[in-house]
Structures are given as C-alpha cells and as structure tokens.
C-alpha cells in the first residue's frame, strides 16, 4: 500500500521540474522553429508560412558569412589556446611544488567573474589608440621596450576577433587546467613510476603515458569550450559593443530580432546555433552517461 503511494509521489515530486524544462526547452525550441519558418517581421506576431526562406537568405547573407568566419577564428584561437595553456599549467602544478594551491586559485579566479566585467577591463587593456594617446597593454609594451608587441587588438582587420579570444582564454584557461589537474590526479602514480624505471624521462612520461590517458579530458575540454565559442556574446558586447567586423551569430540574432524586429530571421539564427551545439553535445551526453553506466 505504502509502496503504491510512493510510486505516484515520486512522479508528483519531479513533475513540476520536468514540466518546466519540457516547456522552457522543448516547447520553446519547437516554437522557435515555427517562428523561423514564418514571415514575422514587426511588433505583432505573424506566422504566415515562409518555408525555409529565412535560412536560405541567411546562407546568402554576407553578414552571416562574416559571422561564420569570426566564429571559426574565435573557436580555433580560444579552444587551442585554453587547452594548451590549461594543460601546461596543470602539468606544472602537478610537480608537487610549494605554493601549488596559491597558483591554482590564482589561475582559476577569472571563472568567478562575469564576461561583462572581464570585457570592461580588457576593453581598456586592449585600447588600440596610438601616438600620444597610447594606453593599456600597448603602453606597457612600449614602456618595457617591447614595441614589436604593440598592435591594434580587436580593431585588426579580419583577425580582430582573435583579440577577443585572448580575453576569453584569460577567463577560461583555468577551467581547462582544473579539468586536466583532476585527470592527472586520477592516474595511478605506479604508471608514472613504472615508465620512469623503464628509462622514460619526464617529457616522455607526459607525452606517451599521461597524454593518451588524458584523452577523455581533452575531449571534454574540446566539447565544452567548443560549444561555448558558438554561444559567445557577452564578452564581445562588453569589449567592443555591436560592431560589424566583430559580429557573431549570437549578436546578429539579438540585433535582427530586438532592434530590427525581424523575428523570423532571428529565430532561424537561433535554430542554426542550436543544431551546431547539438552536434557536439548530444554525442557527448550519450558517451558520458554510457561510461557512467559501465562503472
């Protein structure tokens, strides 16, 4: 009798959450898809059927081409930079040096800060002004005699977005470090010792023993950072505002929807982003839950 009561009670307990997630994620996605197939432009909703024309127009739209190029550059610089830096820092901190905890906390603290704060500060660090108005990092480089490092940061044509990725690396590399450090700590010490007894030097141990064992961590980092790159928005807004050379899909979506009131096209950008993220994330969730079930 009691068992029966609890059988319904457990469903009752989780149903508000499940219903909320169902509506706010899945119903809303369906709704967005419908908007993306409509002619809706203007303040009042208009669901007139427009087939896939919004998508077709986007793929012909030069601004969307800039968005794709920027996303690719940003993703490449951000993901590779964060993984390399994070891995190096994790290996260095894995050596049992004094002060490890201090350095670890220091490398990770930007994660606690919002992209907006990061952006506002980096906007001044990466001030591209020249001549007597030189400031920020360019001023620091000049004072240190490193003139060759002076550059125009995010105002550089085509590659400007890489400067934004630099600020993103500052914010997120500590996270990859934490992932790698957790991974390194889970590798049994005997493995490393055995390799050393066999005559492997420190470099070879990391290259041939640790790195292959860490490939699940690298995969996680690639996917998590990669899907973040597709969504990048706040950081660019805070560093540079809405500028065409630094445009990305998330900014285009926001502008075309809420400034341009072209809801149909805005929804189409949202769905394109969703599909790109789903390609990365769905296999990842399946893989993670499967490994979990095996353990």
């Amino acid at each position: 009798m009691r068992r029966d009561k609890d059988r319904f009670l457990n469903i009752l307990l989780v149903s508000p959450s499940i219903l909320a997630v169902f509506i706010f994620v899945y119903v809303f996605i369906g709704w967005s898809v419908r908007v993306s197939l409509s002619k809706w432009k203007g303040l009042t909703a208009d669901y007139t059927w427009n087939s896939i024309n919004n998508y077709l127009e986007l793929f012909k739209d030069p601004r969307f081409h800039v968005d794709i190029r920027n996303t690719l550059i940003f993703t490449g610089v951000f993901v590779i930079g964060s993984i390399l830096l994070g891995f190096l820092m994790a290996v260095m901190l894995d050596q049992g040096l004094k002060g490890e905890g201090f350095f670890r906390s220091l490398f990770l603290f930007p994660m606690a800060i919002s992209y907006i704060v990061t952006g506002v500060v980096w906007r001044w660090l990466m001030n591209p002004a020249t001549g007597s108005r030189t400031s920020g990092l360019n001023l620091l480089f000049t004072n240190l005699g490193l003139e060759s490092f002076v550059n125009s940061w995010h105002t550089t044509p085509t590659w400007g977005i890489a400067a934004i990725a630099l600020a993103a690396i500052w914010q997120m590399s500590g996270y990859t470090m934490a992932l790698y450090l957790a991974g390194l700590r889970s590798i049994p010490a005997e493995l490393k010792e055995a390799a050393q007894i066999d005559g492997a030097n420190e470099w070879e141990v990391y290259r041939y023993i640790m790195l292959p064992l860490l490939s699940p961590v690298t995969l996680s980092a690639l996917i998590i950072l990669g899907h973040m790159s597709l969504k990048v928005f706040d950081l660019i807004i805070a560093i540079a505002g809405k500028q065409l050379p630094l445009d990305v899909p998330a900014i285009y979506m926001w502008q075309i929807t809420f400034d341009g009131l072209f809801y149909g096209k805005g929804a189409a950008i949202g769905i394109i982003l969703l599909v790109s993220v789903a390609f990365l994330i769905i296999p990842y969730i399946r893989y993670t839950l499967r490994t979990e079930a095996q353990q």
Partner: protein, 273 residues
C-alpha cells in the same frame, strides 16, 4: 639524479610567475585605478601606483550602480534557493526512487543546460509577457528553470554514489519515501547544497543575456548596468574600473572563501563531477 630533478622543478617557478602576472594584470589595473583620486586619472599613467588612497571612483560608481546591485541580489537569492531545492528533490528521485522512464528523461533534462539561449529567446520573451512575469520576477524564474538541469545533475550524481543499503535499512524501519529523503539524505546533502548554491549564485549573478532581454531600465541587474555604464561616453574609464570591482566582488568573495566547492561545481558543469 635526484638533485637534477630538484633543479628542474624550481625552474618551473619562472613560467608560473609569468602566468600569475598574466592573470593578475587586469586585477592590478582595476585596483590601482580604483584607488586613484580624480586628479591623478590619466590613461597615460594607468600602470602607475596611486599616490594615496582615494575613494572618488568608488563613490561615483556606487552612485550609479547601487540600485542595480540591489536588483541583482533580489533576483539571485530566490533563483539560487528555489533551483537548488528543486535539484535536490529531482536528484533524489532520479537516483534513488526511480519511476519507469526516469533514465530516459534524464538526458533530455541534461541537454537543457547546453542549449544556446538564442534558440528559445523569442518564445521566452513572448511567454513571459503573456503570463505577466516581466522584470525581476521573470528573470528569477528563467534562472530557476534553466538552472534545473545542473542542480539535478549534481544531486543525482551525489545521491547515486550513496549505498542502497542506507535506504533499505530505513525502509525496514518503516520510513516512507519522504521520510527517507527528509531524515536520511537531506542531513548529509550539505556539501552538494553548497556546490549547487555557489554555482547558481555565480551564474545568475554573472548572467547578461537573460537580463538584457527580460528586464528594463529600472530593473537592470548589475551586469547590464555595468555594460551600459561602460558604453556611455559620460562616465570615465576610472569609474568603470571601480564599478567592475563592485560588480565582481560578491562572486569573488564566494570564490575566495568557498573555492573548493566552486571547483566541484565547475567540474560538474562539464559532466565530470
């Protein structure tokens, strides 16, 4: 051999210190600029230490940002508490008191934490307007619901790690489901609550996207207010620096005092908890 290894290790402090400088550079600029008097402010001397300690910038930034700091707290507190409580209940049911189909539903909940919010933004705004949940309550509701996947995941993983015998023993003693949750699991859930509360607090406090689409002028939380302050031509960069510190301080303090739990939340966010 051993001494050679030792030297090799001490050498590592050089790159570590360089990295530390890289991470501290923005904080250095925020701090030295914040404490300069208005008369010392010049972009050309932005790397110089302040001559004394002045609070001009903080007073000016506070005048601009105090209302939005209050808005942030008003929104973040219910968002954090409710989302965490729901996560704990869900985690309990999905780990220890499963119903048929629970394992099928879980990945669908999980996917919710990775979606780009651009894909639900238009319906979200429409829906919130329709049900009259605008401004801060609407923003809090969005954070509660989109927080459910990660809070559920964290608690589910924790409860799943507890031995089934714990529950069986209580069942034999006649405890029902709610009794087991209330008297057996809840008392040992504190570490997970801390992880989840910190995570939710940080992500709701730092959020910009939901805030910018769901709130207007009077109800802006700190991120939107700070961004608008930085975008305006009227407010000087030194005041923006002071404002950045005000905006970052609550989450930074949480990080400094509860960093260990913060880290566990981070790892959970990549499904590696």
């Amino acid at each position: 051999m051993i001494s050679k290894l030792r030297i090799g290790k001490y050498w590592l402090y050089i790159p570590l210190v360089f990295m530390a400088i890289f991470y501290l550079l923005p904080m250095y600029v925020i701090l030295v600029t914040g404490f300069k008097g208005f008369d010392e402010i010049d972009l050309k001397t932005m790397w110089d230490l302040p001559r004394g300690i002045a609070f001009d910038n903080y007073i000016e930034a506070w005048k601009n940002l105090a209302p939005s700091l209050k808005n942030s707290f008003l929104m973040v507190i219910p968002a954090t508490l409710i989302s965490s409580a729901l996560g704990s209940l869900n985690g309990f049911v999905l780990a220890k008191w499963k119903f048929r189909g629970a394992d099928v539903i879980f990945p669908f909940i999980l996917f919710g934490m990775f979606i780009p919010y651009q894909s639900i933004m238009i319906p979200l705004v429409q829906f919130m307007n329709k049900i009259g949940m605008t401004g801060l309550p609407g923003l809090a509701l969005a954070h509660i619901i989109y927080g459910i996947p990660i809070t559920t995941l964290t608690f589910r993983n924790y409860y799943a790690s507890l031995p089934q015998e714990l529950l069986e023993a209580a069942k034999i003693d006649g405890a029902d489901m709610l009794g087991i949750y209330r008297y057996i699991l809840l008392p040992i859930s504190m570490p997970s609550f801390v992880v989840v509360l910190i995570w939710q607090f940080t992500s709701a406090w730092n959020d910009f996207l939901f805030a910018v689409i769901l709130t207007g002028n009077e109800q802006w939380p700190i991120t939107v207010a700070l961004n608008n302050m930085a975008g305006s031509q009227i407010i000087a960069w030194n005041v923006q620096m002071a404002g950045s510190l005000l905006a970052a301080l609550p989450t930074l303090l949480v990080y400094i005092f509860l960093g260990r739990y913060f880290l566990r939340g981070l790892l959970a966010g990549s499904l590696k908890g």
